[in-house]
Amino acid sequence: MADIVIELQNVSYRYPVSDDYVLKDVSFTIEKGKFTAIIGNNASGKTTLCNAIRGFIPHFYKGDLEGIVRVGGKDTQETQLGQMAEQVGYVFQNPFIQVSGVKDNVFEEVAYGLENLGVPVDEIRLRVEEILKLVNIGHLRDKNPFELSGGQRQRVALASIIVMDPDILVIDEPTSQLDPVGTEQIFDIIRLMKERGKTIVLVEHKMDLIAEYADNLLVMSEGKLVMQGPVREVFGNPEYERYNIQYPHVTEVALQLQKSGMPLAFLPVKDSELAEALNLKGVVACD
């Protein structure tokens, strides 16, 4: 049995002065080193769930939290917010606000978290250099963070977090401002982080990429965790259709083909599988 790093037990939450629960009785566990994607339509509670994992709920946002959230074996209710920064890196949605506001250039901006963690200066320089190269923003190093475009800021925000080398990365829609090429690059970085043994929780709407990279899926709908499991199982489950969430394009196509009478060898979720899923039948038909 692998290590469980994130564990939620019957978690319900409502924001202050709100009557409705945003999270309703959510329970799941995430094992170390797994890449888990949270999917769901807008306002289904994905970001709130991220906040709960990071400990911003209940430490920053008050409101009523029921149930237990354990990260790295410790109850987040009892951990201090400041202590969690090193353990859980959180990149959030709005890239325009994710700037420290005290640094003149991207290099120092990325270094800011390490300064706060008290890392020696020489080491900071090395680590920042490495991350700038990794995230492909070396050419921005002397620019003012306030003068960057949305996509550039998103990359700087991601770099600023992964440079701190947290064990768990919670990433909330990191590609909303990026073009397809930029998006691929971000996913490449996330995959690299996974290879380095990080546990990754990602909120994302781009199903094709999720199918390509993620291990497990958590499907949120109206505050409830309605489905969970390995990516292929979840997409393959007929129940998934009920929640009106997008399929990966290839799965969508395959399902349509299936409906119109073409049998499938299996349900493809990655682009590269489509041929194989159809081909088997195709070969038989030729005979």
């Binding site: 990071r54 911003f56 920053f60 201090q80 917010l81 400041g82 202590q83 920064a85 090193e86 890196g89 959180y90 990149v91 959030f92 709005n94 606000i97 994710q98 700037v99 420290s100 506001g101 005290v102 003149d104 120092e108 270094a111 800011y112 978290g113 390490l114 300064e115 706060n116 963690l117 008290g118 890392v119 020696p120 200066v121 900071i124 320089r125 306030f146 600023s160 977090i161 701190m164």
Partner: protein, 251 residues
């Protein structure tokens, strides 16, 4: 380009220098001295290569204040020797003398601090205060304010454009523009308040409140001059004080 030795001084040294000027000008009597201190400051600004900005700010900010102060003094300072009189206004010898002393001192002290901020990056100054023990929270407040003001100006422009597309008149007479101000200002303030929440989260996720001692890429070094000059300043002030006391007792 050769780095300027004066600009290279530690911010604290420059700050002590301003305090030193303040003390000296108050200790030494007479306006001739204070005016010559001002000339000295002008010379320093030339050497440091910040003359243009320095003199610009002094002219814009200080001179109007000085003129008002001087006029107040020459007309309203109580005295005997009337130099010139018109209707209820009288210029008195004592008033002129006191006005000159006051304005020369304000000029010297004010321009000493103007020069300080021309020669020192606020970032460096805040860093040196942090080294002296100012909490990082305070340092953050000062530095973020510096960056947020231009950011808010940009945002105000965006909001202004947005309101324009919604048909709010933003050009024309003063009254029209004043009316457009309110629909611009309200969203600006509201969005800034909303922004603070996310800013706080950003800082939190960058380990701002991590319970460890912070390090900094930004290092200030102290040269030999930085160690000697403050001592020199204190010695001169002490010397001047002794001189004043002796002068006062013998007279």
């Amino acid at each position: 380009m050769k780095p300027n030795a004066l600009l290279q001084l530690h911010p604290m040294t420059k700050f002590y220098f301003s305090l030193f000027i303040l003390a000296v000008v108050l200790i030494v009597p007479g306006y001739w001295f204070a005016f010559s201190v001002f000339l000295g400051l002008v010379a320093i600004s030339l050497l440091a290569g910040v003359f243009k900005e320095f003199i610009g700010i002094v002219l814009k900010a200080l001179v109007s204040v000085l003129v008002i102060v001087f006029l107040m003094q020459i007309f309203f300072f109580p005295g005997e020797q009337v130099l010139w009189r018109w209707w209820i206004f009288e210029i008195k010898q004592e008033g002129v003398y006191y006005g000159l002393i006051l304005t020369s001192r304000i000029l010297a002290i004010g321009s000493a601090f103007v020069l300080f901020f021309r020669m020192t990056e606020v970032r460096d100054f805040v860093k040196s205060l942090e080294d002296k023990g100012m909490p990082p929270m305070g340092a953050y407040v000062v530095l973020s304010t510096l960056q947020i003001i231009p950011e808010m100006r940009r945002q105000a422009n965006t909001i202004m454009e947005a309101q324009k597309t919604r048909g709010v008149e933003t050009e024309g007479s003063l009254f029209v523009r004043a009316k457009a101000f309110i629909p611009t200002l309200t969203p600006l303030i509201l969005s800034s308040i909303a922004g603070t929440e996310e800013r706080a989260l950003t800082l939190e996720s960058r380990a701002f409140s991590a319970p460890v001692k912070k390090t900094s890429l930004h290092k200030l070094t102290k040269s030999r001059a930085d160690r000697i000059l403050p001592i020199l300043f204190v010695l001169i002030i002490l010397g001047l004080l002794v001189w004043r006391v002796v002068l006062w007792q013998t007279s």
